[in-house]
């Protein structure tokens, strides 16, 4: 076996080999000394120049990877932002509802609108409270801005709402500043506004006047804000004038609301029935 079997034809081979080994040892042990430092500086510079083109390649590949990672993160953040915005809006709405609850003496039941249909003549909402929560037909639905509608149908856990934007919706209302009474209706030909009829021509009207429920119909309590006057005109052939009302509540935005647990006064109802019977 010739492993480790050194040459026997002269000593010069070993001299050369050990010279190189000696040089290696010197370099190894003196690499941190100042004389070698300058050499190292040059070698590192040359190595960097050689590596640079490939580094650019690697940089490009990393940039592509970073790009797809950031795109993924962007989608996730957009999703989170969208949810946070939604939560923020819900939070604001709930805060204003809480403020309303603190201000009013009426008995309120907070509810969430679970279904909404506002693109047809037969507009409706569905809320997540029903008979089990003492909800009854005819009770008004409001939010912090004002009147939304009234209960039309009641199931044990859900109720159907007739919003103010329904052709059959009627509510007895009054002008807040002068107590002039009228009836609020909705006309499908002018869907963004309500109409208030039967205001005598003698009553002075101005735009911006606030309209609220009158309580006279014994259906809604008095003082629920409905909207403000934006226009008015006299009705030909009668002594009354018609007001154009901009509702305070935006039905498209509303997600939470209160049902006012209002029950009509039975004594008033009985007297009314008796009164009507006199003329039948």
């Amino acid at each position: 076996m010739r492993f480790l079997q050194f040459d026997t034809d002269g000593i010069s081979h070993y001299i050369h080999t050990f010279l190189v080994l000696f040089l290696a040892l010197i370099l190894g042990f003196t690499r941190n000394q100042e004389s070698i430092q300058q050499l190292r500086l040059y070698s590192v510079t040359i190595a960097s120049i050689l590596e640079e083109p490939i580094s650019n390649f690697r940089l490009y590949r990393n940039a592509l990877q970073t790009n797809s990672y950031l795109q993924e993160q962007n989608i996730l953040l957009q999703d989170e932002l969208s949810r946070l915005r939604s939560i923020s809006k819900e939070n604001m709405e709930l805060r204003s509802l809480l403020e309303l609850k603190d201000k009013t003496s009426l008995k309120l039941e907070v509810t969430q609108i679970v279904a909404k249909q506002l693109n047809t003549i037969n507009n409706s909402f569905t809320i997540d409270k029903g008979k089990n929560e003492e909800i009854r037909v005819g009770m008004p639905l409001i939010n912090s801005d004002g009147l939304i509608g009234k209960i039309l149908l009641v199931a044990p856990e859900y109720s159907q709402i007739m919003p103010y934007s329904h052709p059959l919706f009627r509510v007895s209302a009054q002008i807040q500043s002068n107590r002039a009474n009228g009836i609020i209706t909705w006309d499908a030909s002018d869907p963004s506004y309500l109409q208030m009829d039967f205001i005598p021509k003698t009553v002075k009207i101005d735009t911006g006047m606030v309209i609220q429920t009158s309580g006279f119909g014994n259906e809604f309590p008095r003082g629920i804000p409905i909207g403000k006057v934006v226009d008015y005109h006299s009705q030909e052939g009668s002594n009354t004038q018609q007001l154009r009302i901009q509702p305070f509540s935006n039905l498209f935005d509303v997600t939470e609301a209160y049902v006012i647990l209002f029950t009509p006064d039975s004594t008033i109802q009985a007297i009314n029935t008796e009164f009507n019977a006199l003329f039948e």
Binding site: H16, T17, L21, L23, L27, G28, N32, R40
Partner: protein, 156 residues
């Protein structure tokens, strides 16, 4: 005048250039192979010892300079010439089997890496931890594997 060593040196420089630009990116989990060592296994038996020692020394110094390991590769590769020159001349006189070639490559890579590690430990320039294991075993095996692949490609 025999200028074989110039030819081997130029090819070696090209291999170092490839190593610096491309091959060092082929590391797997931080374990890389030494293309110059593979090249040396091929050229060791092809020249006389003095020409070989200076060719190897020249290339090892360049490698040390590029990798900032001054003296380390020079020592470990010179030791290989001292130990394996005559041995490989004898072995390469006849055709060797694939398994044998892999075995030689693996053994030479282990000795090379072990020398490198011992010298690095003495000079105290390198951290310990998993590094010796990675260098001596895994890097040696990776180098031997690539050496085997080049052997198979060459003799195909």
């Amino acid at each position: 005048m025999n200028l074989e060593w110039v030819k081997y040196s130029v090819v070696g420089l090209f291999i170092l250039f490839l190593d610096q630009t491309i091959l060092n990116h082929l590391s797997i989990w931080g374990v890389s192979f030494d293309p110059l060592l593979i090249y040396l296994i091929w050229i060791l038996p092809k020249q006389g010892r003095i020409a070989t020692i200076y060719t190897v020394a020249f290339l090892a110094i360049i490698q040390d300079a590029l990798l900032d390991t001054w003296g380390m590769y020079l020592l470990s590769k010179s030791v290989l010439v001292l130990f394996f020159h005559n041995y490989l001349i004898q072995k390469f006189e006849t055709k060797i089997f694939v398994g044998q070639f892999f075995g030689y490559s693996l053994f030479i890579a282990f000795i090379h890496n072990l020398t490198f590690y011992l010298f690095a430990s003495i000079t105290g320039d390198y951290a310990t931890g998993w590094w010796p294991f990675t260098l001596i075993l895994l890097s040696g095996m990776y180098t031997a594997f690539i050496s085997l692949v080049t052997y198979l490609i060459y003799y195909k």
